[in-house]
């Protein structure tokens, strides 16, 4: 076994500082290699089962004592068992999508500027600042704006009217803050309802999907935490430090930054979820889970729709879930089970092909 280059370089630098001789460095590297070899996982060790047990056992404890943080002003993140399941099942729609947006100077030092930027990120739709009313008899749609809400959110009413006018023409009563739309009398009700709904959802400002953005102090700089994620859009903003900005939406990260980033995110998020419940878990177990989930280039959930459902062996799949389906399909497609996995061998009644079951003696012929 040879050490990776970067470790050798690191050791060389470290040795230089302390003025070690060449022979001593070599000896140290030899010791390192030996040490790593001793601590390496043995061949045919069942790391999958060990990982499953190491992650599963503490998780059973976590369900019993999930705690909730009530009343804190921060953006809350799903924690404990819920979050772990979310990640492992590879859910696309997660309970609490969150971004940590790091800012470029000067925004990261100036709270006012950061706050202003945060406000510009929040997605505002018409129904946030107004009530849309329909009258099916007179065929009118009236949008009644809420003056207080408009002021609080700092929305420019003229821009809003312009946006609405881009969709349908109507008249705006500036005194009453009411926008009235008269539709043709022969318009079907269905179409009218659809129009009203699309008006309700009409985006006025901000980024799509971001419900709230709060400024928080982290160290000596201000960052923005958002509930709701839109990584693609936020990375384009010039105010944002795109090297550090973080989203907890794994599918989004896989799409925007690639599968390697998603793999790293799975490890990080799982680690956070476990540490949040005060459960100590070795990161290498999490890395294995992340590897298994990302090895195909897309996020594969663990479970019958994902990894377990795509095993090569018929017997292993039938033993897990949906027995009938797998057996019938296997017979229809003339599948062959090569008995390479563990479960198959257990079913058939052979020693498993792992651990000591994989070791064979061979005679050395002279």
């Amino acid at each position: 076994m040879t050490l990776p280059e970067y470790i050798k370089e690191y050791v060389a630098e470290w040795a230089k500082e302390r003025g070690l001789k060449k022979k001593e460095i070599e000896e140290f590297l030899k010791f390192l290699e030996e040490y790593i070899r001793e601590n390496a996982v043995d061949p045919w060790e069942a790391i999958g089962i060990v990982t499953a047990q190491s992650l599963g056992e503490p998780a059973t404890q976590a369900t019993l004592r999930t705690f909730h943080m009530a009343g804190s002003a921060e953006v809350s993140v799903a924690s404990g068992m819920d979050r772990i399941l979310e990640i492992v099942d590879g859910l696309k729609k997660i309970q609490t999508p969150v971004m940590y947006v790091y800012l470029n100077p000067p925004y990261n030092k100036d709270e006012e500027k950061a706050r202003e930027f945060a406000r510009s990120l929040e997605e505002i739709i018409v129904s946030d600042i107004a009530v849309v009313k329909e009258d099916f008899v007179k065929k009118t749609i009236t949008i009644v704006f809420n003056k207080k809400e408009i002021e609080r959110r700092g929305v420019d009413i003229k821009a809003v009217i312009k946006k609405i006018e881009g969709k349908v023409k109507g008249s705006f009563d500036e005194k009453k803050y009411v926008y009235k739309i008269q539709l043709p009398k022969d318009m079907p009700l269905m179409k009218m309802r659809k129009l009203a709904q699309s008006l309700e959802r009409l985006q006025i400002s901000g980024l799509k999907g971001i419900k709230r953005a709060l400024v928080k102090k982290e160290g000596d700089e201000f960052i923005i935490t958002t509930s709701g994620t839109n990584l693609k859009a936020i990375l384009k903003k010039k105010e944002v430090d795109h090297t550090r900005t973080y989203s907890n939406n794994i599918h989004e990260v896989a799409e925007v930054l690639g599968i390697e980033a998603a793999r790293y995110l799975i490890i990080e998020e799982l680690y956070k979820a476990y540490m949040g419940a005060k459960l100590l878990v070795d990161k290498r177990h999490l890395a294995l889970v992340a590897d298994a989930m990302t090895a195909r280039g897309v996020i594969t959930p663990i479970g019958r729709t994902g990894i377990a459902g795509r095993k090569g062996s018929v017997l292993a799949r039938a033993a897990f879930e949906e027995t009938n389906k797998h057996l019938v399909e296997a017979s229809a497609w003339n599948e062959v089970d090569h008995l390479k996995g563990i479960v198959e061998n257990l079913i058939v009644g052979l020693p498993i092909k792992a651990g000591t079951g994989r070791v064979k003696l061979k005679m050395k012929l002279r």
Partner: protein, 604 residues
């Protein structure tokens, strides 16, 4: 306001314009005795509905009626009751005491004690302790313990062996236990008396010393005095009722109670029928052990027509006796012969077994301080006081720290004082029981320390134990969980017919399941061969013949000494070791129309 719906026993009866008046009138009549006392009347204001219930099966409880913040039950009533001039039923008739069910409680505002009465209250509890249940009220000083302990204690109170029913001799419970020498507790609550438990108690007063003893009473184990056990402390008898029906079958065939003879198929041997009398029913007071017949019974052959058709086979009756369970032995106690609802002859036999306390039996004080016997120590090795008192049981002091069962300590103090003074009982009812100070005075007056601690001498060395030991009498229960009915072990034994795997369950001499999670641990360790041994060798290993050509299971014709494949006829069949469950899987797949084939390879 709309008219209110009136429901009687859940059915809509009609409407009433003034529900409040209706309810008031009904209650007035109930209190004056014009309507039976157990009728409940409830008015729901939010839904404007009146519910009247008169049917059986509702739980109702008595409460004192309150008017204008004053209970109707007065001192004069109590005096009259004491003098025998007034009875409970009179109070109910006069409307002083009223029965409420949960439904009507919705309309009531019940005060727990007299002090907290306000004009809004409608009822008063008969006693504050009623807010606790029956089981908890049997625990001495319930208010001085943690709730969790009370719950444990109340639950275990039900499991204590005692005199569960005074007619136990003629009852035919499937299982029942009776304690040889049940005693009334010295320290008891008032509920104990009202429940008539003083006539059928459920435990014994024993002397307990609170010390760790050589590690044999750690983790909630307890030490018992061997000599106490030999003096029949906590000795109990266990009855199990066995049943046998002499069935009649369609076609004139019937079972027969008799001593089966050798011609019966499945004959168990002469020894198994030794307890039976001429009528095939066990004779009372004979000793039987597991596997012996209690009722000898033979049944007609199962497939009557088949037998007649061939005519060659002898018509053999089947052995169908009722046997003693494999792990039980004892004496035939009572034999009852009657008939069941179909008119078939029915025999019920009670088997009596003596259950002497042994290591592993479960005991508890009333406040949830349970434990199992960890060691039985001869009296001479037990610690003793200067007066020569030797404890019956040694309880570990560490059991108090987290559980904080104050009433355990108080009970010992109280019982000790009572024993010294000769009191018949010590009242420990919630809220009005005696106090530690009362006992301390008595203890000191008799020359004991007020803490209840005493100097003890080690029974083995005779030396004085350095610490002072808390010792005194306390009421203990023997719980119905006996090791002799629970322990289980197996090396070889019976297997299931279908899967050829070991049977499950203690009564079937079964194995302990090596389950999925246990399997995972062995995989995790990579212990492939250990796993193989557990799941195949020691379970359902079989050798099947597999055809090399077509992959089907072959046949071994032992008479013609020929092995061949029944599908393709090839004689190239090989022995393969698999689990029987796998063979079964293959068979089941075939029966479903799926055609599995095995491909053979050389062992690598």
């Amino acid at each position: 306001m709309k008219e209110a719906k009136v429901y009687v026993n859940g059915r809509l009866l009609g409407f009433h314009p003034e529900p409040k008046k209706l309810v008031e009138e009904l209650r007035k009549r109930r209190r004056s005795g014009q309507i039976p006392p157990f009728v409940s009347v409830t008015y729901y204001e939010n839904t404007n509905e009146v519910y009247v219930y008169t049917d059986a099966g509702r739980l109702s409880r008595p409460l004192i009626v309150v008017k204008n913040g004053k209970p109707l039950l007065t001192k004069t009533h109590l005096k009259m009751i004491r003098e025998g001039k007034l009875k409970w039923s009179d109070l109910v008739k006069q409307g002083i005491i009223e029965y409420l069910d949960p439904e009507e409680e919705e309309n009531a505002y019940i005060a727990v004690s007299e002090e907290e009465l306000t004009p809004e209250h409608t009822h008063l509890e008969i006693h504050p302790a009623i807010v606790l249940g029956f089981g908890v009220n049997l625990i001495p000083w319930p208010e001085k313990n943690l709730t969790t302990r009370l719950l444990h204690g109340a639950k275990m109170g039900d499991q204590g062996l005692g005199l569960y029913a005074s007619n136990f001799r003629i009852r035919t419970d499937t299982m029942s236990y009776v304690l040889y020498y049940p005693q009334k507790p010295i320290v008891r609550t008032r509920v104990f008396k009202y429940a008539h438990l003083d006539r059928r108690p459920y435990g014994q007063n024993i002397v307990v010393a609170v010390i760790p003893y050589e590690g044999y009473n750690m983790m909630d184990a307890i030490i018992m005095n061997k000599d106490s056990i030999e003096r029949a402390l906590f000795r109990a008898v266990f009855f199990r009722t066995y049943e046998a029906v002499e069935r009649r079958y369609p076609g004139g065939q019937r079972d027969r109670f008799e001593i089966p003879d050798e011609s019966v198929s499945g004959y168990l041997g002469e020894e198994a029928y030794h307890a039976l009398g001429e009528d095939g029913i066990a004779i009372p007071e004979t000793k039987v052990k597991g596997g012996d017949a209690l009722v000898g019974r033979t049944s007609p052959p199962r497939f009557l027509e088949d037998v007649a058709h061939f005519g060659i086979m002898e018509e053999r009756r089947r052995e169908n006796s009722v046997l003693v369970r494999p792990d039980e032995e004892g004496y035939v106690d009572t034999v009852m012969i009657t008939s069941d609802e179909n008119g078939h002859r029915l025999v019920k036999i009670k088997l009596r077994q003596e259950k002497i306390p042994e290591i592993g039996d479960k005991f508890t004080a009333r406040m949830g301080q349970k434990g199992v016997i960890g060691m039985i120590v001869p009296q001479e090795d037990m610690p003793f006081t200067p007066q020569g008192v030797v404890p019956d049981l040694i309880f570990n002091s560490h059991a108090f720290i987290s559980r904080m069962t104050v009433s355990y300590v108080l009970e010992i103090l109280g019982a000790k004082a009572a024993a010294l003074e000769g009191w018949e009982e010590v009242d420990a009812t919630m809220g009005e029981g005696m106090d530690a100070e009362d006992f301390e005075k008595v203890l000191r007056a008799h020359g004991f320390r007020k803490t209840g601690k005493e100097i003890l001498y080690d029974g083995k060395s005779g030396e004085e134990i350095e610490a002072d030991i808390f010792i005194g009498p306390i009421y203990y229960l023997r719980l119905k969980h006996l090791v002799s009915q629970k322990y289980q072990a197996r090396a070889r034994g019976p297997v299931q017919i279908l899967t050829r795997q070991p049977t499950e369950g203690r009564s079937r001499e079964g194995g302990i399941r090596f389950g999925e999670m246990e399997r995972d641990t062995l995989i995790g360790h990579g212990a492939a061969l250990t796993l193989y041994e557990r799941l195949v060798e020691e379970s359902d290993k079989t050798t099947i013949l597999v055809c090399e050509k077509c992959g089907n299971i072959g046949v071994d014709d032992a008479i013609r000494k020929k092995r061949y494949c029944p599908v393709c006829g090839s004689t190239k069949v090989h022995e393969v070791d698999v689990s029987y469950a796998f063979k079964l899987l293959l068979d089941e797949l075939k029966s479903l129309g799926i055609y599995p084939k095995l491909k053979l390879k050389d062992k690598a």
